[in-house]
Amino acid sequence: METITALFPWITNGPLILVQVMSGLSVGMFLFLVSVGMSLIFGVTRIVNLAHGSLYMVGAYLMVTLIGFLPQRPWAFWLALLLAPLGVAVVGGVIEVALLRLIYRRDPLMQLILTFALILVIGTLVLIVWGPDNKSVPRPEALAGSVRVFGQPFPTYYLVVLALAPLVAVGLWLIFYRTRWGMLIRAATVDREMLGALGVDVSRLYTEVFMFGSWLAGLGGALAAPTVAVALGMDGDVLTTAFVVVVIGGLGSFAGSFVSALLVGELQSFGILIFPAISIVLLFALMAVVLIVRPCGLFGRPEE
């Protein structure tokens, strides 16, 4: 025991551990928003959308523009938070109708090449539209400071994220399991051909799902914007982690994304404390272990 406390002096510091748990949860919440959209799009359209991180980045940049454009009032932040993801949904809709629709029947490799090309195209467009300078969204005045949690300071804004993301999760659950549209989505993930044969306009459903997934990515980006620099390159960073989250949780699984996002958030948070030198490896090690034990991910279903 003494060697353990010598190695990890924080281990006896209960409040610190609790704060670390909460900080891991808030990281997990951002990841959940991004990865659930990616997972949803894959579940329905069978496309691995590598440009999902780019949509997240566009959400953050739209936030910068809207904050600059709207009058400096307390409500401006919340209005921007509402509008920016909608803008991303429109971008997603355009991508689906103009590009993805043409390649659903093609080789999966072609689809990957297209979404990979979109990373480069969107990255360059963002550079042209917003320029090379780093941008930032200030936290809303009321949420700029910190509150005491178990005697430790904890940023107020993260508390808001902690409250908001579960609301989104519950909302998603209600949509998936309590509405007709949700039922269609679930049906499409199981058997798309049958759904089409039953007279459902599948191509419209695809557009809607892609827009909805993009909206979630945009919401993740918009919500994360006040905590990070809005800069070129934020797309690649989030894409890798979101991809790992989706693979661990199981491609196409809603509950999988939720559990796996929280798991990865906590792993990153504690990985830094316990094994700072290999915290990045831990993420991929977890993915490897999950893939060995359950090749379809924690909540994934095998393809027939």
Binding site: V19, N134, P138, S146, G233
Partner: protein, 421 residues
């Protein structure tokens, strides 16, 4: 991840096959016409925040030089290539520039890895390479050779200025946060050893090594708060340092311990941070707007105005001054050699020379072909308009603090011995 990797390789293979079809068309080398310099840098993605101002500065210098009659009666011409931040891309571009474009010299680099890779290629191809923007000291010191010259300061110079300032303030217990790669390790090593040398009673109580590009720093911030240090050093830069500062502000970290961060005082970080800037942080940077600096260097204000006109309304940045200086240093070396012959230009560089710039004297030192410009250290404050700026600027010339030629020779000998093993 497998799927992604497949897509990347396929994606890379197809266009490069197409490219190889068109690249085979020989371009007629314009003999006796412009002096051509192949410039390799990162002109897409996250580094553009630094490389765009750099390129503006370089092109401004080129325009001025050519308008004044060029070099040896010939105009200077830069041929730009994008390295996508990757050493292998950069070396590929260098090879293409040397073999197909038949450029006279190579220039460029933003990351240290790219600089070292192009430098190794230049040595092998016996082509002179002017490293212009990356900052690792290995470039001209441990791994230095006659085919590489460095036209901007290296890590050693601007970190030592920070350490010297730190030694004059009373802080004894220190921590640090640095990105875990070549540059971050080099920075902390230089800072901690020089500070210890100047002030032997300092203690290093805690270390943080986030990975390069980490976006969530809350665990490190908690660790810093618990460390009991009075001050801490940061080798973070760019978007990552903005992330760190934004996340540390709600914890009041900068009120609890003094922040020493060379990069934070540059406008590419201070402007986006705005109200969230770390007031009181000790920083280095190019405070061209500072009244004291403008008084000391009477041509500075006029240069800044010219740059703003040239770049259609942008304010100068550190990178802009580096691009501008690099253009003139390359031109001066050729002018003094009275030839574009590689050996003759190296001959001039190995003797060394000095040049005056609007921000002071730059020494091109002969023994290592390393530029030694003035260095600045200051404190982050809000100005009257509520914009964060670097103030209380103190100037130290790099030559007062930089490692001597003897020390460089020792570093090179040690590196050579290591390679033999």
């Amino acid at each position: 991840m497998y799927m992604r990797r497949t897509s990347v390789t396929t994606w890379m293979v197809v266009p490069s096959m197409l490219l190889s079809l068109t690249a085979g068309v020989p371009t007629v080398a314009a003999q006796g016409k412009p002096i051509r310099i192949g410039e390799i840098n990162s002109y897409s993605g996250l580094a553009t925040v630094f490389t765009f101002p750099y390129k503006e500065g370089l092109l401004m210098a080129t325009k001025e030089i050519n308008d004044a009659g060029g070099v040896l009666g010939r105009p200077l011409e830069f041929i730009f290539r994008d390295d996508k931040l990757r050493p292998d891309e950069a070396v590929k571009a260098a090879r293409e520039l040397v073999l197909q474009e038949q450029v006279d010299f190579l220039a460029g680099c933003i990351t240290s890895a790219v600089g070292l890779a192009v430098s190794a290629y230049a040595k092998e191809a016996k082509t002179l390479y002017f490293a212009t923007h990356c900052q690792t000291s290995r470039l001209t010191w441990d791994d230095g050779h006659r085919y590489v010259a460095h036209t901007t300061n290296n890590v050693n110079q601007y970190v030592r200025v920070m350490a010297r300032k730190a030694a004059t303030l009373g802080y004894k217990k220190w921590a640090h946060i640095s990105p875990d790669y070549e540059y971050g390790q080099n920075m902390w090593e230089e800072f901690s050893t020089y500070l210890k040398q100047l002030k032997p009673d300092v203690q290093y109580v805690q270390q943080n090594w986030p990975k390069l590009g980490e976006s969530d720093h809350s665990s490190y911030i908690t660790a810093l708060l618990q460390s009991g240090s009075e001050a801490f050093f940061s080798a973070l830069w760019g978007a990552q340092e903005i992330n760190f500062v934004k996340q540390a502000q709600p914890f009041g970290l900068f009120d609890k311990m003094r922040f020493f961060a060379p990069a934070v005082g540059n406008p590419d970080e201070l402007d986006p941070l705005g109200k969230e800037a770390p007031i009181g942080a000790v920083t280095s940077g190019f405070a061209w707007y500072d009244e004291g600096l403008q008084k000391r260097h009477p041509k500075l204000a006029e240069w800044a105005k010219r740059y703003t006109e040239w770049s259609k309304g942008k304010e100068p940045k550190l990178g802009a001054s580096w691009g501008y200086a690099s253009g003139y240093i390359i031109a001066e070396a050729i002018k003094r050699a009275k030839s574009t012959d590689t050996d003759k230009v190296i001959g001039v560089l190995s003797e060394g020379f000095e040049m005056d710039f609007p921000w002071g004297k730059v020494v091109m030192r002969g023994c290592d072909q390393q530029a030694i410009p003035p260095q600045w250290v200051g404190v982050v404050k809000m100005n009257a308009q509520g914009r964060p700026i670097m103030t209380e600027v103190e100037e130290v010339h790099g030559k007062e603090i930089v490692r001597s030629c003897d020390e460089v020779a020792q570093l090179r000998a040690a590196a050579a011995a290591k390679q033999k093993k």
